[in-house]
């Protein structure tokens, strides 16, 4: 089924690295949008957790990031494209408990090595690609039209 443009809701958010004070703003805005259009609360919860984890990753490790939200009646797609150090070994980064966080970050309760695995666990589909020294792109997808799957 092809989607006419009017049924695609797109919104962009900018996330700035090291800006801990604003961390979580994008995931809150996204949650509000999802509530307004009547998405199932259990999907909203999963999407909120995944987006927040992804947002925190940007704040902790990247310089800046463009988050694009795309909603169609079939799926919810959250794309994060960041500019930063990138991830040298994605396989390792996906392991639970692996983290390159500094002691200061751990002190603040972050860097438990659960970020990426947690995003994957909450999403219906998760993709990650990274170029060390340039940045990381992740795609978080949720199915909205249950009957299709």
């Amino acid at each position: 089924m092809t989607m006419t443009d009017e049924h695609v809701l797109s919104q962009k958010f900018e996330i700035i690295g090291s800006n801990f004070g604003n961390a979580g703003k994008a995931s809150t805005s996204i949650k509000e949008i999802l509530q307004e259009i009547g998405i199932d609360p259990s999907i909203i919860t999963r999407a909120s957790i995944a987006t927040y984890e992804a947002e925190m990753n940007v704040v902790m490790y990247a310089e800046k990031c463009l988050l694009t939200l795309n909603i169609t009646p079939e799926k919810l797609h959250i794309k994060l494209e960041d500019e930063g150090q990138g991830i040298a070994d994605i396989e390792k980064a996906m392991q639970e408990g692996f983290s390159t966080a500094t002691d200061e970050m751990r002190e603040m309760g972050f860097g438990a090595g659960m970020g990426l695995p947690n995003i994957k666990r909450n999403a219906d589909k998760f993709e990650i690609a990274s170029t060390p020294g340039k940045g990381t792109t992740i795609d978080i997808i949720f199915n909205l039209n249950q009957t299709e799957y």
Binding site: D5, E6, H7, V8, L9, Q11, G24, S27, T28, K31, I33, Q35, E36, I37, G38, I39, P41, S42, I44, T45, S48, I49, Y52, E53, I71, T72, P73, G109, N118, L144
Partner: protein, 455 residues
Amino acid sequence: MNQYYHSIRIDTDKCDGRMKCLRICPTQALRIRNGKAVLIEEKCIDCGECITVCPQNAIVPLTDPFGEHTKFRHTVAIPSPALYAQYGREILPEKILSGIKKLGFDDAFDMSATCGEVSFALQEYLRDYQGPKPLISNVCPTVVRLIQVKYPSLIDQVIPIDTPRELAAREIKKKKSKKLKLKENEIGTFYLTPCPVKMISIRQPAEKGKSSIDGSISISDTYAPLLAAMENMEKGSYRKALESICILGIGWAMGGGICRTLRLKNSLAVTGLSEIIKVFDDIERGKLRNIDFIEAHSCPQGCVGGSLTVENLYISYNKILKLIETLEFEKIKACPDIREVRKLYNQNYFFIEGKLEPRPIKPLDKDLAKAIKKRKEKEQIYESLPKIDCGVCGAPTCLTFAEDVVKKEAKLTDCIFNQSIEIPAMSKMQNDSNPLPSVRVNIHKTQKKKDKNET
């Protein structure tokens, strides 16, 4: 017919549309239509902020008038512990309870003992609990409604143990009816309340069970008659009065008063709706999983800051705090018997009847495709508005106005910037080459710009 009861009524004769309520409402549940405030029922969580702020006293709390409890054979007043904090430091709960009995009630019940029992019951519940954390206190009905409306995903984390006021009323009815050989419905239980929302939790419990409380009377209505009633009372023994206070329960009316009785390593006490919202956002994101318990009161500093109290909230907060310190210093520990509480707990005595259900706000449309379309329209309308939240259209913010337009509850021309009048002070806000009275044209321009970007 209204789906929800609310604790306020707008007196349209008094209301002159001055918008104070519009601006303060934390859930954007108020609008001004035809010069009068109008409540959007599904959005209201009964916090009572609008009552306090209305300069015309046009928002009336729907508590029962003082003295209206004659239809019962026997009446019992149950004051919120917040009442104990309304008078000077020398006036202890014992005297206040005696004073209440002079006001036409057959009896006055000290709820702090029940609060103490519930503290023990909470300890039991928290010790055995295995589900997602943190657990959230249900003692403030506004917080429970906030969760139902805005945080439905947290519903299972709300503690299912009944509130002290309900348990006290239930127990009073049971015991008194036996003792006096009356039917339970002939015993009237009246809660002396620091806030209007308790009224709603009585008329329409969030859990859909039935309340044992027959009415609520505001502390502010009780204040003066009670002060007079206590005037010429004989002075009893101060020490004896102290010894009757339950140290676990007395603090329940102040923020942090529940947490301090639970012996938890990780618990938080939060007061004030805007702060609660921040904490709930964090819980939803999966932060705060290491916190066991959250005590949340929508009023600042807890129930002592309720909109129907009289004393300055910091003074009443301090009075309770000092009272607890005195009790600790004097090593007075009038507590309920924990073994007795455990026995009752195991008999499910404390658990709430009925289940808490979410009450999410209606989406823009039931059909997802249409909802997406409407959300886009809302965004486009919002982009065309001046974003100064002037409120002249009757909505609290430009964003809520855009939503109202999409829902066809308001017309675009209700916005003063969409009317052909010149307001010099405001026209400076947009650039000179784009004079204001033509915002409609702006909408088409932004649409075109967006189209270009997307192709």
